[in-house]
């Protein structure tokens, strides 16, 4: 069957579909406000006139390309093309400002490739077994998974005060996520009578505002993104840094596992991988200032989600995330019902589709490696020209999500708020994390309490929940110990200084 699938994949129409899909995906992913979900959903009617396999391969190529494409503007302009690229922006953009944008792009594409290939391999070999594992996760586990994602906030802090401010920022994000419709009762909460807020504050316009618009406002006082152009004669092809393999491996596994869980997206996978990397890196002090280890972990995590999300989608008909849901829509329209039949009666087509994902990863790797030095030249464009263009695309991207003018104002308000919050020491990463994870945390918490008849023991008695608590503690304790030690050292320094001045 694999041999027949390979033959079907190597047909000219299939190869063309992979190429066009991947390139389109990279372009769509690279534009803020345009998401992989939108691109895949828009392609469904296009696939009506194509062979089912060609249509599927096209959608799969877009999915893979878009997950990588989001990292390009994230690194060069601090404008994540997709929400999953936020963690990449936090490390990649400082590297761009230091003149290492080409290197950051290189690390991003290689890590994305490794994560994508690993997860596709897992999809190919163990999809049915992983699907059973996915079914054992319930509301308590989803709540704990959100907590696991939020634990990353602690590792973003360097001292007591910034820890407290990071936690306040995360809680603010969770509070903003409360706006909208109560997931249990359907009651409208804090919508101020605006119908556009019935579904809550869209996190994409907020993200665009907080990262892109705030950064463009900051750049008004500089002539170029790269702060010291004297170090740049030309965009050099820098060698790949050593020691990134373990972070790529960690990100790939994390992304695949998180992707397998229905409803969990690449954003959580990317942040979790980034957080793990932060914990285990020997260069912790470089995180947030341009550390390629963070990019490697985040990008392998978000592309690792691709294959993982297709596991429950193809085996159980439960979409791994919104992109997989759109893809599943395409499958069903062509008469391919997810389940055991997909791997038996339509096995040739299914395996050809899975094998096409390997090809898609190779194509975007090639595009990324050859084009990285040229993409990186964007950081040399003078800011008077660059800023209005990026602002326009940011505002357009905010509007395009829901065709809502309110979303543009959300982006602007978040932009100016982000400038002030950043100046006063609050963490934007923590805030956006809270905003993204808020709905998952709230619905998981509420549903778990209803299932447990109001008893909190449901969060502590299930084996999967206990494992998640153990991982939470492993991630939480080291940064807290580190912060306490730093605080103790600072107090000792201050006392020594006051003793010296008294003498």
């Amino acid at each position: 069957m694999i041999f027949e699938s390979l033959q079907a994949l190597l047909a000219p129409s299939s190869l063309l579909a992979v190429f066009i899909g991947t390139v389109s995906g990279v372009l769509v992913g690279g534009m803020p406000g345009l998401t992989a979900t939108m691109a895949v959903a828009l392609l469904i009617p296009v696939t009506f006139v194509l062979e089912p396999l060609t249509g599927l391969i096209l959608m799969g190529g877009v999915y893979c390309g878009a997950m990588y494409g989001g990292s390009i503007p994230a690194i060069l302009l601090r404008t994540p093309g997709t929400p999953a690229a936020v963690a990449t922006a936090m490390e990649g953009y400082p590297m761009s400002r230091q003149g290492h944008g080409g290197l950051a792009l290189k690390v991003s594409v290689i890590a994305s490739f490794c994560g994508g290939v690993f997860s596709t391999f897992v999809l190919l070999m163990v999809a049915p077994i992983l699907a059973i594992f996915a079914l054992t996760f319930g509301p308590p586990e989803y709540f704990l998974l959100a907590i696991l994602g939020l634990v990353g906030i602690v590792s973003m802090a360097d001292d007591e005060s910034s820890l407290v401010k990071a936690l306040i920022s995360g809680l603010l994000g969770l509070v903003i996520a409360v706006i909208g419709t109560d997931p249990i009762s359907g009651q409208l909460r804090y919508t101020l009578g605006l119908t556009d807020l019935y579904d809550g504050v869209s996190f994409m316009p907020a993200l665009i505002g907080m990262f892109s618009i705030s950064q463009m406002l900051d750049l008004t006082s500089t002539k170029r993104i790269v702060t010291d152009t004297s170090t740049l004669q030309k965009i050099k092809r820098e060698p790949f840094p050593k020691g990134l393999k373990k972070f790529v491996g960690l990100g790939s596994i994390t992304g695949t596992v998180v992707g397998v869980l229905p409803g969990e997206g690449a954003t959580i996978a990317a942040f979790l991988s980034y957080n793990f990397a932060r914990q285990y890196s020997k260069k912790k002090h470089l995180f947030g200032h341009g550390n390629p280890e963070g990019i490697a972990a985040a990008e392998s995590g978000n592309n690792g989600c691709v294959g993982g999300s297709l596991v429950p989608t193809l085996t159980l008909g439960i979409p791994g995330n919104s992109v997989a849901a759109a893809l599943m829509g395409g499958l069903i329209i062509h008469g391919l019902i997810p389940g055991p039949e997909l791997f038996s009666k339509y096995g040739v087509m299914t395996y050809a589709f899975i094998l096409s994902l390997f090809l898609a990863n190779i194509i975007f790797l090639f595009i990324g490696l050859t084009m990285a030095p040229y993409f990186a030249r964007i950081s040399l464009i003078p800011t008077p020209i660059l800023i209005p263009v990026v602002c326009l695309f940011s505002l357009l991207g905010s509007y395009a999500m829901n065709n809502s003018i309110l979303d543009i104002f959300v982006a602007l308000i978040c932009g100016i708020a982000a400038v002030i919050l950043h100046r006063t020491g609050f963490s934007l990463g923590a805030l956006i994390l809270g905003l993204i994870l808020g709905p998952i945390a709230e619905s998981g918490f509420a549903q778990a309490l209803i299932i447990g008849h109001g008893s909190y023991s449901i969060f502590f008695t299930r084996p999967q929940a206990i494992i998640l608590w153990a991982i939470i503690l492993v991630l939480l304790i080291p940064p807290i110990i580190q912060i306490s030690r730093q605080s103790g050292r600072k107090k000792a320094d201050v006392e020594r200084q006051s003793d010296n001045s008294a003498e």
């Binding site: 372009l27 007591e160 809680l171 406002l217 509420a446």
Partner: protein
């Protein structure tokens, strides 16, 4: 305004918001008092507590710290001009439609930010609008705001 003063204003604002959020959960339906209302109360309590802790940390360090000024930007004219232009853009978008307002916004913003080469400004603005038309409107079919004024 010093940075610390700005922080205190924000913390007081968050504290008031946390308090108001807590009180508002009493209005939630009875069926969710044990679930989503509990979650929201948990958030508001912790937000309030953390704001108080941060204020406590500030009081402890007050004697040792100098009053650093809150520097929002080192180029205030460009910063505030860009922000005002974006707000004007958002307000007029519905009335003038995407293409007209963008054709005005791009060159004006570039000139305000310091671009002096008319050809660069014109070519970039025109190129961006053509790109948006071809990719967003034609290829992806994303509906762009149309003018309602005429």
């Amino acid at each position: 305004m010093t940075r610390r003063f700005a922080e205190i204003i924000l913390l007081v604002g968050f504290l008031i918001a946390a308090f108001a959020l807590y009180l508002s959960t009493a209005e939630y339906p009875k069926m969710v008092q044990g679930s989503t209302a509990t979650y929201v109360r948990f958030l508001s309590v912790w937000l309030g507590l953390l704001c108080l802790i941060e204020m406590g940390l500030w009081l402890r360090k007050r004697g040792r710290e100098e009053g650093k000024k809150l520097n929002v930007t080192s180029a205030p004219f460009r910063f505030w001009s860009l922000l005002i232009l974006m707000f004007i853009y958002s307000i007029l978008l519905e009335y003038l439609g995407f293409y007209i307002i963008s054709a005005l916004f791009l060159p004006v913003a570039m000139m305000v930010l310091g671009a002096r080469n008319i050809w660069s400004v014109a070519l970039t603005s025109g190129g961006v609008l053509i790109f948006v038309y071809l990719v967003f409107a034609k290829l992806l079919g994303v509906p762009l705001p149309q003018a309602t004024l005429f």
